[in-house]
């Protein structure tokens, strides 16, 4: 125990400061929510109702920090953090994960592999799961990761993901966050793509009272393609704060980000994205789009789409829009006998589907849609 107390990681954690208002990466954000001082690690958890298994996927189930089922030759259970780096404003939170996380998975495969990880979350306190996904040259890895509350306690999840994709490899990851409305969810999502590799990293947020997500994608090899997708459906009492960074470090790289937020009730969203093109990363092709669909007169959307370009011969663009479902669309559907409220939801679901379809994987798309539909039925 005394060894843990004096570890360098812990010292670093102690030395850093919790986020403050003046940090640009916390602009519009609820920086006070990120102060987790005094929060103890959560105890052992309870099981929940297992969702229908995904065909061809190896399933791993966690109850809080304990792996209760699942095994595969290419998947190793780890007892410490891989050490996430926060480059978007939360070094203290990253250091907290590094110092105190005691469970995670390390997936490493040179052949095709499909893994499903279910995190059942229960009780009050801090949970620090981590996952490393290594797709070795030529491999095609699919990972689904679901965070599901099994009780109504206020949990705090600080999760970290690191996706490393080697030459000619491919990875598709879908994270669904289906926590109860008392919980907080913080996530670091890093990815690095080598030459000619591709990645599709998607996240669906329907639960939690406060979400902070820092997504950092590094496209490091020629002809690598990275796609970052998000569907968020916050309602009253929910605030989603998503920060992204698309880092182009090599020639002829491609990245595309598409975030679709549908805001109900008094929801609040913050999107801050940056496309960063290194000196010499010529031939970069990068896109960033954040679209907010405003369902009520009380929701709030903040968008900060950014670009920093240090190379020429690049094609970069970003777009951000905020608007509501158009009256024409509602009228069209009502004229066909669909009640106004259903019509509005139908259009809104269609709006989310645009991002989900980009997964180009029937199983993952079906799961994503199911999670989205469940949220729609629960919203007034």
């Amino acid at each position: 125990m005394s060894a843990t107390l004096t570890s360098p990681a812990l010292e670093q954690f102690e030395a850093l400061d919790w986020p403050v208002r003046t940090v640009e990466n916390w602009r519009f954000g609820s920086w006070k929510e990120a102060n987790l001082s005094g929060l103890e690690l959560v105890g052992s958890g309870i099981s929940g109702k297992l969702p229908k298994p995904l065909e061809g996927f190896t399933r791993f189930v966690f109850e809080n920090g304990t792996l209760v089922s699942g095994s595969h030759d290419s998947v190793v259970l780890t007892e410490e953090s891989f050490g996430p780096k926060s480059r978007l404003g939360s070094p203290k939170l990253a250091a907290l994960h590094t110092a105190k996380s005691d469970h995670g998975l390390h997936i490493k495969s040179a052949t095709d592999l499909s893994v499903e990880v279910i995190h059942f979350v229960s009780g009050e306190g801090l949970l620090l799961p981590g996952i490393v996904i290594e797709a070795e040259a030529g491999a095609n890895i699919r990972v689904v990761k679901r965070f599901i509350s099994v009780d109504n306690s206020a949990a705090t999840i600080l999760a970290a993901t690191d996706v490393r994709i080697a030459e000619n490899a491919h990875a598709t990851c879908l994270v669904t966050q289906e926590l109860n409305l008392k919980s907080k969810f913080i996530r670091f999502s890093d990815s690095t793509l080598k030459a000619s590799s591709t990645a599709k990293l998607a996240v669906i947020h329907t639960g939690a009272k406060w979400v902070r997500e820092e997504t950092y994608s590094t496209v490091d090899g020629m002809d690598a393609r990275s796609e970052i997708l998000s569907v968020a459906l916050p309602s009253t009492g929910q605030e989603y704060d998503q920060r992204t960074f698309q880092h182009h470090g090599a020639r002829n790289t491609y990245s595309e980000l598409l975030f679709k937020n549908t805001l109900f009730g008094k929801a609040k969203t913050i999107f801050s994205g940056l496309i960063f093109v290194d000196e010499g990363a010529h031939g970069t092709d990068a896109y960033q789009t954040c679209r907010n669909l405003m369902m009520t007169d009380e929701c709030e959307a903040n968008s900060m789409p950014g670009l920093e370009i240090n190379a020429d011969d690049v094609k970069c663009s970003h777009g951000s829009t905020s608007s509501r479902v158009s009256d024409e669309e509602i009228f069209y559907l009502m004229a066909r006998g669909i009640p106004s409220k259903d019509a509005r939801n139908l259009v809104a679901q269609g709006f989310s589907v645009e991002a989900i379809e980009k997964l180009e994987d029937e199983q993952l798309e079906a799961l994503a849609l199911e999670v989205v539909e469940r949220k729609f039925t629960s919203v007034e």
Partner: protein, 473 residues
């Protein structure tokens, strides 16, 4: 050859040493280097200001000192400003002149070198030529005076028109808005005060030329323009500065107030020499059905930080920012726009185009805010950046906050470069690579250049040709 091209070529020939000169300094009043409470008292005494202005200055100094440099979001280059090595007030002590004969000959020579043609000068309605921090020449055309238009220096405005001036002064941009608006409030001198009475539509644009002409000397002009109900005015400022070895600071505050149905257009062509820090706060307050347009072109300076804003306070108000920025080696053009929608059915539009040449860096920083319980607000923002060389840099940092579902906002930005095909096509037709590049760049900003008055757009094209020289090959 038509007359316009002739002018362009002729002026282009003369341009080489334009703005690259200075004159012996001859100042009656000099507040010395550094900023203390005594500096403020000195300025107040020289200008014979009422007590409330002096109090205002002192309060502003406290605010300035208490605010940190905004380097949490802005460039670290701001730390290169040494506030102790700046002279905060210089004046030749002359009262504003009423006729050209009384203007000191070296000032006239400056205008010659600036390329203000003799005939044009005669026509320039109400030229407010600012030499150092005071107006060296000021001539409000009689016709304007007859209509009740007030066009005076800011110092005259606060003394002689206090009843109109004071209610709006510092209201659009409060002292504590940012560190540099506080600095300006503490040491302001020069600048204009303009009042356009109800229903008066000023036909000729009002103009002011600003210059910096003393080493380590910053200009802190303060401008307040009030357009009363249903009136219209266009104000133009252009600036060039002689080159100096050490950095100079220019920190202006410009406040516009457009009452019900009024229209204000404020046009700036900024071409400070490349050692000037140009940190300017500009904001307009638009009442019901009023319109405020900022048309802004930044070509010079070492670092420009300028985000003209419009607060749309009355229903149906409109705000617009049209911006062109050109950043060459050693320059950082950090410009943008702020659109605050504070009433129903307000509309704002931002169009920004930037060009980065050599190692130049251009940045767009914008804010759009649509607060709660409003309806029918619209914002459109477009930012396009053109990169000329492989070391050029461009950034875009917009922030858009929308509350409620009764609005429409859209933001788009793109980054591109002049295509090889386009250059090849033009070179095939006999243009040199530099000419082809220049033509392509002018094409990129052409639709915005048209928003400027003719003489400005001619000058702009000329300046861009010059900046593009030697940028390729």
């Amino acid at each position: 050859m038509n007359s316009e091209t002739a002018t362009v070529q002729q002026v282009a020939l003369e341009k080489d040493d334009r703005g690259n000169f200075s004159f012996p300094e001859n100042h009656k009043y000099d507040a010395g280097y550094g900023l203390t409470k005594d500096t403020l008292d000195y300025i107040s005494k020289v200008k014979d200001e009422p007590q409330w202005v002096n109090d205002f200055r002192h309060k502003a100094l406290e605010t300035f000192l208490s605010k940190p440099m905004p380097t949490n979001w802005a460039t670290e280059d701001l730390n290169a400003i040494d506030f102790d090595k700046i002279r905060y007030y210089l004046s030749d002590g002359a009262t504003p002149k009423r006729s050209w004969d009384e203007v000191p000959p070296e000032v006239l020579e400056t205008f010659d070198r600036l390329g203000v043609p003799e005939q044009e000068r005669a026509f320039l309605a109400g030229v407010e030529a600012q030499y150092d921090s005071e107006a060296a020449y000021s001539n409000v055309k009689e016709a304007l005076a007859d209509e009740g238009v007030i066009f005076v220096t800011c110092s005259e405005g606060l003394k002689e028109h206090e009843e109109i001036f004071r209610p709006w002064f510092g209201k659009v941009i409060p002292t504590g808005d940012n560190k540099f608006s506080a600095l300006n409030s503490a040491v302001m001198s020069g600048g204009s005060f303009i009042y356009i009475p109800k229903g008066v539509k000023v036909k000729h644009p009002l103009q002011a030329y600003f210059r910096i002409n003393s080493e380590n000397f910053g200009q802190f002009e303060r401008t307040l323009i009030i357009a009363d109900e249903g009136s219209e005015v266009m104000y133009m400022e252009g600036c060039t500065a002689p080159k100096f070895e050490t950095a100079t600071l220019h920190s202006a505050v410009v406040e516009l107030v457009a009452m019900k149905g009024a229209k204000i257009q404020y046009i700036t062509v900024q071409n400070w020499s490349s050692n000037v820090f140009n940190l300017v706060t500009k904001r307009g307050l638009a009442h019901e059905d009023a319109e405020i347009r900022w048309i802004d072109c930044n070509i010079g300076s070492r670092l420009t930080m300028k985000y003209p804003g419009v607060v749309m306070k009355g229903e149906g108000a409109r705000g617009e920012v049209i911006s062109i920025a050109l950043a060459n080696d050693g320059q950082h053009q950090d410009t943008g726009a702020k659109m605050i929608h504070a009433a129903n059915n307000t509309t704002s539009n931002v169009v920004s185009k930037s060009i980065s040449v050599g190692k130049g860096r251009s940045t767009y920083r914008g804010q759009v805010l649509i607060p709660k319980h409003l309806k029918g607000c619209k914002n459109n923002t477009e930012c396009d950046a053109l990169l000329i060389n492989s070391k050029s840099r461009t950034d875009t940092y917009p922030a858009i906050t929308v509350k409620g579902n009764q609005h429409v906002t859209q933001h788009e930005a793109s980054v591109s470069q002049v295509s090889e095909e386009m250059l090849f096509y033009m070179q095939q037709r006999g243009l040199s690579e530099a000419q082809a590049m220049s033509l392509a760049v002018n094409g990129f900003i052409n639709d915005l250049v048209e928003e400027f008055p003719m003489e400005y757009s001619v000058e702009l094209k000329r300046l861009i040709d010059l900046e593009m020289e030697g940028s390729v090959g």
